[in-house]
Each structure stands twice: as C-alpha cells, then as structure tokens.
Amino acid sequence: MHEMSIAINIVSIARKEAEKESAPSISMIELEVGKLAGVMVDSLQFCYEAACKGTLAEGSELQIIELEGQAKCMQCGNVFTIDSFMAICPKCDTYEIEIIQGKELRLKAISINEEGSSHV
C-alpha cells in the first residue's frame, strides 16, 4: 500500500505551499498521474482522505488528471500511445521502445481559501 505514503507526500507538499501563502485551508489538490506510474487511483483517493485528517487539507478534494502512456520507438522514432509496459511499435513490431510519458506523479496546483477582511 504505497498509496498511503504517496498520499502523505501529496498533503505534505500542499501544506507547505499553503503555509507560504498563510492560507487557512486547502480546498482542492490537482494531481497528474500517469497510467504507468504504478499507482492505483482508487486506492490513492481512499488514502488521501485519511492523509488529510487534521491538516489544512481536511475535507479537500483530490482532482486526478490521468495521463496516457506514450512511447518512442528506438528503431524508427515513431511516437505512439501505450497502455502497458509490454508495448510494441505498431510500425516496426519491436519492443525496443522508450517510455516518454505515463510515469508522472506530479502535484500540479492547489486551491487555497483565503480570508478576506472587512473593509470599505
């Protein structure tokens, strides 16, 4: 269940960013997850809620943007979409490919709440 330690990392990064802005709370965290990142999105959502408890992010939403896998053929240079590590270049039938997208696990942005003050 490495999703729990990943969820804790996400909340920790978000908390530091929110503290820099003196925000009282975080309402949303936007995360990019590649389809080949080795992370189960459902499991991550479940762990996220637990990781947020008692932090600035309690009650916040985790918005996950899934990124599809992309590979570049090392033989012919063809760039194509993949949905698993066992992918073949459709042009030259080789497994000699380099994965160029799909392993991301990146915290894109956070939405923070800010307290406005009463003034005229």
């Binding site: 490495h2 990943i6 990392n9 978000a14 802005e21 080949l36 990146r106 915290l107 894109k108 939405s111």
Partner: protein, 267 residues
C-alpha cells in the same frame, strides 16, 4: 506505533545486529521558512464583510521529489566512497536472503555491508550476520517498502568502507518498492522458478524499474512447469535492457557468472 517499545512516533526501527536497543528514524524534517512578504492589498471600492475566497497556486512538483532528492544524495555518497550499491527486490520467498548469504561467503575478500528491510523480525539480519558481514536491520512496521531516507539513516550507522559493496535487501514485495529510488547503482529483481513465468507481465512496474533479473532456484526446474525462455521473453517485452542471471543459490549452479559480474562492477 512501535511494536517493540510502544512509542507513538515513527514506526520504523533501525537495529544493528548484536545490539539489543533499536532506535527510530528521525524523519528529516526540513522546515524552511519562506517569507516572501507578499502584500495582498485589495483596493476594491465596494463594501464587503469577512468572507473566504479561493485562489489557485501552481505547484508543479514531483510527488516523490523529496525521496528522489535524498536518493541522489545517497548516490553521491556512494560514488564518493566508491561503493557499489545494489537494491535487491522480489516477492517474499524468492530466495533473496539465501542468495545474499551465499554471495557474501564467496565475496569474503571484498569489504561488504548489508541493509536488511523487513516489516518485522531480526531473522534475516541474524542469517547475514552469521557470514561475518556488518548488517543493519530496518523494520518498517507496517511499511511496504524502504525509502531513501531510511537508507541514509542506515548507512550512517554502518560506517561503510571505501571501495566496498552494499547490498540492500528490500521488503519482499513486487509492487511498492518499484517507485522508491534508494540511490542504488543497480536494481536487481529476483524471481524464482517456483513462481509463475508470467510474473514480469503481471508486475511490469518492478521489471521496468530493474537493471538486472536473477532467475533463482533453477535446480528445481525439473520439478516445476517454468519455462525460462518464456519468462525472459515476458521480461524483455517489459524492459528490453534487462540483463539476466540464471542460478541456484542453494546448489551454487550459475553463481560464478553472478559473482564475476559483481567483481567486474567493483573495480
């Protein structure tokens, strides 16, 4: 909570073989204060009372960035001391510890050290210690993998020698350790012939992240339905750069090739 002493802080414990006391990792808290002195002056001309409003901040940070940074620090330390560090990963029961014991016995002329990772017990550290090699046991408690920070704490205690080899035996788990760089030179995935030959296809993330694949327990091949060629085929489809060793740590068959590869890398 720590299962040994009941303290509530960090559940990971570090124990040197032969010592009764263990301690908990300090967890490296870097609390930098970033005071940028932003002035968010609102000069609206309208009337409003206290309220909250939202704002989005671009972060663009790798979630595993802190681990990766620490792993690079470990890598720099190993490089400076000319330490060849290996991260051994596999499912439980592949024969990692037996392979390690046999390797250490054969490599007695080379200074070595071992970091053992398990959720519980000192059993593996005790087995390794019997070879005379310094060993530190990390018990992760409920944790399913080692991370770069644990390795940093562990080698600090082991007092690694220059021009040596460091074997890190990760927690037996073919899923989670794949994501955590420890700063090793090579990641070695071990699969035994009593497992399914399609394991590389079932757990591709780990085989993708590995450099070396050891197929262990080949002495049992006559008794099991395991096609070595097909297993390699599956693994190469996932990672065409994998290098293979076929061996039996128990009988010693194939150990020579593995040992000479190790020696070649120690130069």
């Amino acid at each position: 909570m720590c299962d040994t002493c009941g303290c509530g802080s960090n559940s990971t414990t570090f124990t040197k073989h032969g010592e009764k006391e263990h301690h908990h990792g300090d967890g490296h808290h870097h609390d930098h204060d970033h005071d940028h002195g932003h002035n968010h002056d609102h000069s609206h001309e309208h009337d409003h009372s206290t309220h909250t409003h939202g704002r989005t901040i671009e972060v663009e940070q790798d979630v595993l960035g802190e681990n990766n940074l620490l792993a690079q620090r470990n890598r720099g330390y190993f490089e400076a001391k000319n330490i060849f560090a290996l991260n051994l990963v596999s499912s439980p029961g592949s024969g990692k510890t037996t392979l390690l014991e046999k390797t250490l016995v054969e490599l007695q002329d080379v200074p070595s050290a071992v970091i053992e990772g398990d959720q519980q017990t000192m059993n593996d550290a005790d087995r390794v210690a019997a070879t005379g090699v310094p060993v530190l046991q990390i018990n992760t408690g409920n944790g399913c993998h080692l991370d770069a920070n644990m390795i940093h704490t562990a080698y600090g205690e082991l007092e690694l020698k220059n021009d040596s080899v460091l074997f890190i035996e990760n927690v037996g788990n073919l899923v989670c350790p794949a994501l955590f760089d420890l700063g090793e030179n090579k990641r070695v995935v071990i699969i035994s012939v009593t497992e399914g030959e399609d394991k590389p296809a079932k757990y591709p993330t780990m085989f993708d992240a590995a450099d070396i694949c050891i197929i262990n327990k080949i002495d049992l091949l006559p008794y099991v339905e395991f096609d070595v060629a097909r297993c390699k085929e599956h693994a190469l489809k996932v990672n065409h750069q994998l290098e293979f060793f076929e061996l039996s740590a128990t009988t010693g068959e194939g150990m020579d090739t593995w040992l000479s590869w190790l020696r070649d890398n120690l130069k």
